[in-house]
C-alpha cells in the first residue's frame, strides 16, 4: 500500500508548499496539499499542519484554525496513533486545539524573529525524532512572532518526557542567548503523552537541503525520514 501524507492548507498558510516540496521531492513520499475544509483523514497515513498565519492570526495565532473541520479529522488520527506534526503556526494550532498542552505567547522581544538557531534533542523516542540521538544539536531556522512557550504545568511535562526539543547554543548548552523568544525552560518543541503528535516552532522543511543551509546541514530531513519510517513500521 502506498504511504500518503497530507499537508493541510489553511487560508493564510505560507509554508505549505515548502513542506510539500520536501516530502515529495527530497523524502520521496506521496504528499497532497489539502484545503482545510476538504481534508479526509481516511485517505492519509500522517498529516502536517504547516507554518504561516492561518486566518490572519486573528484573535490569537491558531485559534480560528483550531475550530476548522480539519482538526476534527485530525483528532481521529490522533486517537488511532497516526503521526501529526505541527510546524510553527501548526504548533500554535495544535495547542489551541488542545492536542498539545500549553500555549505560545508573543516573543519576549516583541519582535518577529527570523534566523538560524540550534535546538537540542531531548526525546528521541517519538515518531519524528527516532533517527536522532538525545543530546544531538540540530541547526534549523525559526520565523515567528508568537513562539514563547508557556505552560502552567511544567513539572508534568518534564516527568512525562514530553519536551522533545530545547533551544541551545551550538555546544548544546541551554543559554538565555540561545532562546530566541523567551520560551519557558528554552522549550522549542513538545509531544503528547502518546508521542504521535508533536509541535515545534522551528522549521524542519527549511533545513532539509544542503543548498538552503548556511553550513550545508540537512538536519530537518531527519524529522521527515523518522516520520516516514514510523509509518512504514506501524
Amino acid at each position: 500500500m502506498t504511504i500518503k501524507i497530507a499537508v493541510v492548507q489553511f487560508p493564510g498558510a505560507n509554508c505549505d508548499l515548502d513542506a510539500m516540496h520536501v516530502l515529495n521531492n527530497v523524502i520521496g513520499v506521496e504528499t497532497s496539499l489539502v484545503w482545510h475544509n476538504h481534508f479526509k483523514e481516511a485517505e492519509f497515513d500522517g498529516v502536517i499542519l504547516p507554518g504561516g498565519f492561518a486566518f490572519g492570526d486573528y484573535l490569537r495565532a491558531g485559534i480560528i484554525a483550531a475550530h476548522s473541520p480539519a482538526l476534527d479529522q485530525a483528532r481521529i488520527m490522533l486517537k488511532d496513533g497516526r503521526p501529526i506534526l505541527g510546524i510553527c503556526n501548526g504548533f500554535q494550532i495544535l495547542t489551541e486545539a488542545e492536542f498539545l498542552p500549553g500555549a505560545l505567547l508573543q516573543n519576549e522581544s516583541l519582535k518577529f524573529v527570523c534566523k538560524w538557531i540550534n535546538i537540542r534533542v531531548e526525546n528521541n523516542k517519538t515518531p519524528f525524532t527516532h533517527k536522532m540521538k538525545n543530546g544531538d544539536v540540530l541547526a534549523i531556522p525559526v520565523a515567528h512572532g508568537e513562539g514563547r512557550y508557556f505552560t502552567d504545568n511544567l513539572k508534568e511535562l518534564e516527568e512525562n518526557e514530553q519536551i522533545v526539543f530545547k533551544y541551545s547554543d551550538e555546544n548544546g548548552k541551554y543559554t538565555q542567548n540561545a532562546n530566541p523568544n523567551g520560551s519557558m525552560e528554552n522549550i522549542a518543541g513538545i509531544c503528547n503523552l502518546e508521542r504521535n503528535c508533536m509541535g515545534l516552532m522551528p522549521h524542519p522543511e527549511r533545513a532539509s537541503e544542503a543548498i538552503l543551509s548556511p553550513k550545508s546541514t540537512t538536519h530537518g530531513k531527519l524529522f521527515f525520514d523518522s516520520m516516514l519510517e514510523f509509518i512504514k513500521r506501524r
Binding site: 495547542t95 498542552p101 500549553g102 500555549a103 505567547l105 519576549e108 508557556f150 502552567d152
Partner: protein, 89 residues
C-alpha cells in the same frame, strides 16, 4: 423570545504568571522615561465589544461567558476573561 439588545465589553488579559512584555515595555520605555514614575503597574490585553439579544443583563452575561468558554475566545492556560461592562441598548 429575547426582549432586548445588550452591549457587553470584555477584556482578555494574561494571567499574572504569564509575562506581558507589551505592558512591561510601555511602562519601562515610555511612562517611566517620560516622568510618569508614579505608575507602578501596567497590563495589556485584548478588548471585544459584543452586541447581542438577551432577556436581561444576567442572561446576556451568561451567554457571553459560555460562548467565550466553549470557543476558547480566551486561552484558559494563559488568559483571564473579564466582563468590564454590560448595558442595555
Amino acid at each position: 423570545m429575547y426582549q432586548s439588545e445588550f452591549e457587553i465589553e470584555i477584556s482578555l488579559e494574561n494571567k499574572p504568571a504569564a509575562r506581558d512584555p507589551v505592558a512591561e515595555t510601555i511602562k519601562r520605555d515610555l511612562l517611566a522615561k517620560k516622568g510618569y514614575d508614579l505608575i507602578s503597574k501596567v497590563r495589556s490585553g485584548q478588548y471585544l465589544r459584543i452586541i447581542l439579544k438577551a432577556n436581561d443583563e444576567k442572561d446576556a452575561k451568561e451567554i457571553v461567558t459560555s460562548m467565550c468558554n466553549d470557543l476558547r475566545i480566551f486561552n484558559p492556560v494563559t488568559q483571564n476573561l473579564n466582563i468590564i461592562n454590560v448595558k442595555k441598548l
